[in-house]
Symmetry: C2
Subunit: 139 residues, 2 copies
């Protein structure tokens, strides 16, 4: 029993990346493809999982060249697990820092929205600037 094989067009729809991008990723050594007797690429369920995983990494802000490094380490076997773990930990820490910053910005934005609402329904005096309003939360 052999798994279903997907050619690039079908696979492209499956993983949500264009055929251009898939070839580009292969060129960048992020993914591999197998070839049939005519040199036509095909992919399997395993490749779907791999792409899925690299999309998670990308989704957390990992750059293509870091990803490439990661792939190289993976190819070198279990001896590189420590280094790979460290890479992921760093990406994770960075992403968490990004989220924290984003949330900080969002807080101000939310307060601005509240301030607009206060102006509109006159629960905030006309004379109170957003800056003044914001200050109230900082003591």
């Amino acid at each position: 029993m052999h798994e279903k094989q997907y050619r690039i067009g079908e696979f492209s729809k499956l993983v949500g990346l264009s055929a251009y991008t898939l070839r580009y990723y292969e060129d960048q050594d992020l993914i591999l493809s197998q070839r049939d007797e005519n040199g036509v690429r095909y992919y399997t369920a395993e490749d779907i999982r791999w792409i899925g995983f690299i999309l998670h990494l990308k989704g957390t802000g990992m750059r293509l060249n870091e990803l490439k490094r990661y792939v190289q380490l993976r190819a070198q076997g279990d001896g590189t697990i420590g280094e790979r773990r460290a890479m992921l930990q760093k990406v994770k820490d960075d992403a968490e820092a990004d989220i924290a910053e984003l949330q900080m910005h969002l807080k101000v934005l939310s307060r601005k929205i509240d301030w607009y609402d206060g102006k509109t329904d006159h629960t905030i005096p006309d004379t109170e600037s957003f800056h003044d309003y914001l200050q109230k939360f900082n003591k």
Copy 2:
């Protein structure tokens, strides 16, 4: 009593944007500057607050051209508060969606780190793939 005036060099350090960027933002109509009798830009505490605010907006993912639109509306007065509020709400919703997605990716990344740890200390059998391991969380 008049407020302290900052020339572009000093102001640049104060707000963390290069003089190039400040001129660029002015060019893009995101900020205004006053000029002295020689045509030299100067900024005040009010400008610090304004830049601070636009950096919050940028920080939540607002693009320069949206920001520009926002600035235009602001210049048109209180009649545009509704539209401005709506813009901010959209930016907020988008940012929250981004955070949610980021957290989803982070979850997988964290599990991969745990999986590495499990492999390293042999609490996860050698035969269990990450994919198998992940599946356990989805039932």
